[in-house]
């Protein structure tokens, strides 16, 4: 009798120990998410004060504060409000959106190399932008034509893949292969287009594809933030489904999930999010591949936490890279796409080499 009570209380202590440990495990994820948020604010604060036009830290903050109530008038105010802030905010929003889309695409395709770009989005957008750039020389509103065209063409591969799943089941393999095929088709079409175009237009089209935050304006921020918020919640709602898919399609189905429908839904939302961003920024590629991996290394693969965490890491990363891109060989401003890959690549390699456990 006595020994039985003992084992019973032993069981109880063990259980509360595991419960505590699990709570700490969840707590650590919140800490990471919160720290990434703080990091974004710090980088944004520093970034606003940097630039070829000298403005001190205190000036910047008082300008931001005054600007909330008044239209910018002095040169300093215009520099901060019309040049630096939109660029910084777009950098954050784009980083967040691309990283979230990347995390979800990797999850549904169960592939560490996947990103929305694997599904042909970037090549579609590049082709759309190239058409607009090469045809719109001298036409008023050319910029809007580029944005609109890039947006529409970037979604074409997605629609084709969704269409194909009517004939073939929506397995990760089918979708990745279809995406790669799409990538080749659109890249070839773009090359063909460039082959017959003038040098100036070709340069413009090429630089569009590298990705740059230089075209940021308040006009771009509104649609991007609406789409970001509109996509974030449905993706968070599907986080459990993606977790279950990680255990294999069969297990996910046995847990009551309509795997194929979920996969197509998540792919479509992620693609839409990516398209809405890259039509303003060009194809900034690296963030959506790397930010989710960095977050997984720290907090693991639970998508309920991975979605916000990779978003914030992506935001911090893109903003950090853009700050460097603006300052490193000032007054020349590099396109951020170059910096994300040049700095992000080695950083990512370093993290892969020194990781202690398999996280994927």
């Amino acid at each position: 009798m006595n020994s039985r009570t003992e084992t019973l209380s032993e069981t109880r202590t063990k259980r509360s120990e595991i419960r505590e440990e699990y709570k700490r495990f969840i707590g650590r994820k919140f800490v990471f998410i919160f720290s990434s948020l703080i990091l974004i604010f710090i980088i944004a604060g520093i970034s606003t004060t940097l630039g070829s036009y000298p403005i001190t830290v205190t000036e910047v903050y008082s300008i931001i504060w005054r600007g909330i109530f008044h239209n910018p008038e002095t040169t300093k105010e215009i520099v901060v409000w019309n040049l630096r802030l939109p660029r910084i905010i777009l950098g954050i929003l784009a980083g967040v959106g691309l990283a979230i889309a990347g995390a979800m695409t990797q999850g549904i395709l169960r592939n560490p190399l996947a990103s929305p770009f694997t599904l042909g989005i970037a090549s579609g957008a590049g082709f759309g932008a190239a058409i607009a750039i090469l045809l719109s020389k001298g036409i008023v509103g050319g910029e809007y034509l580029i944005i609109g065209n890039a947006f529409i063409f970037s979604l074409i591969p997605t629609f084709i893949i969704v269409g194909l799943t009517r004939f073939r089941r929506a397995t990760p393999e089918t979708m990745i292969l279809a995406g790669i095929a799409m990538m080749y088709i659109f890249s070839a079409a773009t090359t063909l287009l460039m082959y017959f175009s003038e040098a100036d237009a070709m340069k413009a089209a090429y630089f569009w594809m590298v990705g740059d935050l230089g075209r940021a304006s308040w006009d771009a921020l509104l649609p991007v933030s609406i789409v970001l918020v509109g996509c974030f919640f449905p993706l968070m709602w599907k986080a459990w489904d993606v977790n279950a898919m990680g255990a294999g399609d069969e297990t996910a189905k046995s847990l009551g999930i309509n795997v194929e429908r979920s996969r197509i839904f998540i792919m479509t939302v992620s693609s839409f999010l990516t398209a809405s961003i890259i039509c303003f920024t060009g194809t900034i590629g690296f963030i959506c591949l790397v930010a989710p991996h960095m977050s997984r290394m720290v907090i693991g693969g639970d998508n309920r936490f991975l979605i916000p965490a990779s978003g914030l890491v992506g935001g911090a990363l893109l903003l950090g890279c853009d700050t460097i891109a603006r300052r490193i060989i000032a007054p020349v401003i590099l396109p951020v796409g170059v910096v994300t890959s040049c700095l992000g690549g080695p950083l990512f390699l370093y993290l892969i080499m020194r990781r202690r456990r398999e996280y994927w």
């Binding site: 069981t11 495990f25 709602w237 977790n243 279950a244 847990l255 009551g256 398999e358």
Partner: protein
């Protein structure tokens, strides 16, 4: 009343028939083993019953209700599926993997009740010490227990197992089979398992179904199904069948030329 009735199920992959006119009845708290050579349709049958695959013809009744009329989440509260331990898994802690079994029951947040259920299940399978380990670091036997724990966390009435002992050493084979047997006895859960090892099937199952090329060849208690004649016809193997504590024990001798 029968817990589960499978009536005239037919399934084919791209016009290659895999299952033909399969009928099964399963009582509450019964353990049914499905045996047969490779490609006999054992795994396909298990998957059809859990609606992972959709049979082209036939009806599956769970508690007298056609499972086609159940929503997927409803079905997931009644049936648990346990894949082979060879399935590729993605890193996640054991706790999170088992918590996934609560998916059909929870909204978006996992409540204290769900966490309690996970702890209880881990305790039942004696894998509490693994709780915060990553599942990709586990051995095949440990992983199989995690899969069973996940299915049990679903609170199902019926467990479907796809070769739960393949890849396990003999100790883990017995442990896993004992766990399943106890669950069936104590919780009144019914189990259907596809299994290759005829002697494990014989030792643990209440009833055995022997399949051959998509059809049921023989069904009944182990004694009536596991006969030298049936084994010869279905597997093409000559075997002697000994009596071992009241259960048939199969010793394969040579393949039939």
């Amino acid at each position: 009343m029968m817990k589960l009735k499978v009536q005239d199920i037919e399934f084919s992959y791209a016009s290659v028939p895999i299952l033909k006119e399969v009928c099964i009845e399963l009582a509450a708290s019964e353990m049914l083993s499905v045996v047969g050579p490779n490609g006999a349709g054992k795994s396909t049958l298990i998957r059809c019953i859990d609606r992972i695959l959709k049979p082209q013809r036939g009806i599956i009744l769970l508690d007298e209700r056609d499972i086609k009329e159940l929503r997927l989440m409803e079905l997931a509260k009644k049936m648990g599926y346990i894949p082979q331990s060879t399935s590729r898994v993605f890193p996640a802690t054991v706790f999170d993997a088992v918590l996934m079994g609560r998916r059909p029951h929870l909204g978006w947040r996992a409540s204290e009740k769900d966490i309690d259920k996970v702890l209880e299940t881990l305790h039942m399978l004696h894998i509490e010490d693994l709780a915060m380990r990553d599942i990709d670091e586990l051995s095949g036997g440990q992983l199989q227990k995690v899969f069973i724990a996940r299915a049990l966390a679903q609170d199902p009435d019926v467990l479907l197992l796809d070769e739960p002992t393949s890849n396990l050493d003999i100790k883990h084979q017995l442990e896993v089979m004992d766990i399943i047997k106890n669950i069936v006895r104590e919780k009144g859960i019914s189990a259907i398992m596809a299994i290759h090892d005829l002697n494990l099937a014989s030792r643990y199952a209440d009833r055995i179904i022997m399949m051959n090329s998509g059809k049921i060849f023989a069904a009944g208690n182990p004694d009536s199904v596991l006969t030298p004649d049936n084994i010869k016809q279905v597997y093409g193997v000559e075997a002697t069948v000994n009596n071992n504590n009241g259960r048939p024990y199969i010793v394969p001798i040579r393949p039939v030329k």
